[in-house]
Every structure is written in C-alpha cells, then in structure tokens.
C-alpha cells in the first residue's frame, strides 16, 4: 500500500469516526439507525460498483491508447478543441493515464488550449469515473442532468485559455 493510499484511508475513516461521534452525541438510536442506513446503501450499491469496476476494465481494454492520443493531435483550432473534449471523455483509466496523455500532447506540440479542454473534459466526463462512481451513487436523473449542463465548459475553458494566452 502506498503512502498516499494510506493517507486517504486515514482521513476517510477519521471523518467517518468524527461524524459517527457527532451522531452518537445525539443519542445511540441516531447512531445505530444511520449506521444501518449506511450499511443498507452499501449492500445496495455493491453490485453496481462490481459491474462498474469489472465492466470498465473491459471497456478500457477495447479502447487503444493511440486513438486517444490521435484525437489530441496538432489541430490548433476549434476542431482540435472538439476532438480533445471527445478524447477526454473516452480516456480510460485513472488520473495518471489522463494527465500523462495531456503531458505527452503538450510535449509533441499540442496547443495548450486544447490540452486544457482535454483535462477539463476528462475531469467532467471520464466514462470510467461516471460508470464506476457517479451512476451507482447518485440518482440517475442527476447524473444525466449534471453531464448535460457540463458540456459547454471544456469549450469555455479553451476559449479563456486562448483569450489570455496562458498557460
């Protein structure tokens, strides 16, 4: 287990303990009922997380990384922004993969606004995070709503980057 994973687990279970203590101070009944509630949520969500983890592994396996890098190509106009956004949503894997692809694109001459759009689109729409986390935990209607209203923003980010000439 790496150090960062350890820190995450400590803060996570620490927060659980603090909030559990706060619930306990309101009475044992409150603590017990919210723990039962949380455990039921956990049991209900487990199959969906299982499908998400195992499923996204297969989806990731059929998306070749060259395709993603190809979409983040040297086109420096709005078409390049559009392909960068699609590439961001289609990027499989965790943050290391997403950011590394962005770094490679910068190195081989991709435009910073396009890479900004890519990173923002990845943060907003990466399919693996949506399938694995957002869809199991949130009401389905919220997820589609959130994704739909987020669509303009990678383009806005690219526009701001072009306007201020940074990074």
């Amino acid at each position: 287990m790496t150090l960062s994973a350890l820190i995450i687990d400590i803060t996570l279970w620490g927060s659980v303990a603090v909030l559990g203590f706060m619930a306990w101070r309101r009475g044992r009944v409150v603590l017990v009922s919210s723990m039962r509630e949380g455990s039921m949520d956990f049991i209900n969500i487990m199959p969906r997380i299982a499908l998400g983890v195992i499923g996204s592994g297969y989806i990731a396996a059929v998306i070749p990384p060259e395709v993603i890098t190809g979409w983040l190509g040297p086109d420096s106009g709005w078409f390049g922004v559009l392909t960068a956004v699609i590439a961001g949503a289609a990027t499989p894997g965790g943050p290391v993969v997403g950011f590394s692809i962005g770094a490679v694109a910068l190195k081989v001459g991709g435009g910073p606004p396009q890479v900004i759009a890519y990173v923002v689109a990845w943060a907003l729409f990466a399919f693996q995070r949506m399938i694995l986390w957002e869809i199991p935990f949130m009401p389905a209607r919220f997820v589609w709503f959130r994704a739909a209203v987020s669509v303009p923003f990678p383009f806005l980010a690219a526009a701001i980057a072009m306007a201020i000439g940074k990074p």
């Binding site: 927060s15 309101r26 969500i45 997380i49 396996a61 770094a103 923002v120 949130m138």
Partner: protein, 170 residues
C-alpha cells in the same frame, strides 16, 4: 444499468475475440482484485453519507443550498466541493446525501463539478507532478468560474424541465 451491462458484455466479447479466454480472465482477476481493494472505501463513503444525512439539519440545508439559495448556495457548494477530502468514494455519497437533505440540483452540481475541477486532492497528487506547476495553476484558475456557472445553468434548465418542481429522485 442495463445499458452499461450490455456495453460491458459487448466489450468483453470483443476482448475474447481478440485475446481469447486468457485475456478475458486476466482483466477479470485484475478487476476483482481492484474491487476488493475499494470495497472498504465504498463502505466508509456510504457511512459518511448516512451520518451527514442524519446530522445536517434539513431545514438549514434547504435554506442555504436549496433552490432558493441563489448565488450564495452555488458558492457554498463550490467551496464545499473544493475542500472535500478523499476521492470519488467520498464525493458522490456526500453529494447524494446533500440531495436527500434538501440541496437542489444546482448547488449539488456546483459541488460535484468543483470537486472534480478545483479539488486539491487530485491536482496535488497527480496533476502537478505530471503536467507541471505552470500548467496546473493556470488550468485551475481558468476552471474557477466553472462550478458556479454549471450550477447556475443546472438551475436554469431544471426549472424549465420540471416547472412544477418535480422531486429530484430517480
């Protein structure tokens, strides 16, 4: 979930055609391992969400994060998303709990988008070392207005899609 199940089945079939049964089993064992690793965190996230739903006073939440909370509600959502520790296993259960205790779609969208775009966890751990300080800082500065704008757009669309204020439950 049915759509996702079908998509997964298609992709697994493609992997099987390309790599044979070994390829399919390789991915399966790797992912089962990963599943075992994240399960405790999912449990922690669910408990966190349940405690928050229990502790937070519903009336106060719907006043400060509800449909009538205005810009202030979107700003609170954004700030909350930016400082929330942990990963997706905390962000989404907490966001779901906020919805249950009276936050509206707008404020919750601001929170989720803020967590994913300006949350410090991922930026410090991965983006800084891989993409460099200059890029990361500018990326965050450019992203700063996005959570509030996304939340405002969410509210704007929501009242038009559900004019009668249909309860946001699936």
């Amino acid at each position: 979930m049915i759509v996702i199940g079908a998509l997964v089945a298609i992709c697994a079939a493609l992997v099987w055609r390309r790599d044979g049964i070994d390829g399919v089993l390789n991915i399966l064992t790797h992912d089962l391992w990963l599943f075992g690793e994240i399960l405790p965190r999912v449990l922690a996230g669910c408990l966190l969400g349940a405690f928050i739903a229990e502790i937070l006073p519903h009336e106060k939440v719907s006043r400060s994060l509800g449909p009538e909370s205005g810009l202030k509600g979107l700003l609170i959502g954004t700030a909350f998303g930016a400082i929330l520790p942990g990963g997706p296993f905390t962000a989404y259960p907490v966001a779901a709990a906020l919805l249950t205790v009276g936050a509206d779609f707008g404020a919750t969208i601001a929170m989720v988008v803020s967590w994913t775009l300006i949350g410090y966890g991922r930026a410090v751990a991965w983006e800084l070392p891989i993409l460099g300080t200059d890029f990361t800082l500018w990326r965050i500065v450019i992203s700063l207005p996005i959570p509030v704008l996304a939340g405002a757009l969410g509210r704007f669309v929501f009242v038009r899609v559900y004019p009668k204020g249909e309860p946001p439950r699936s």
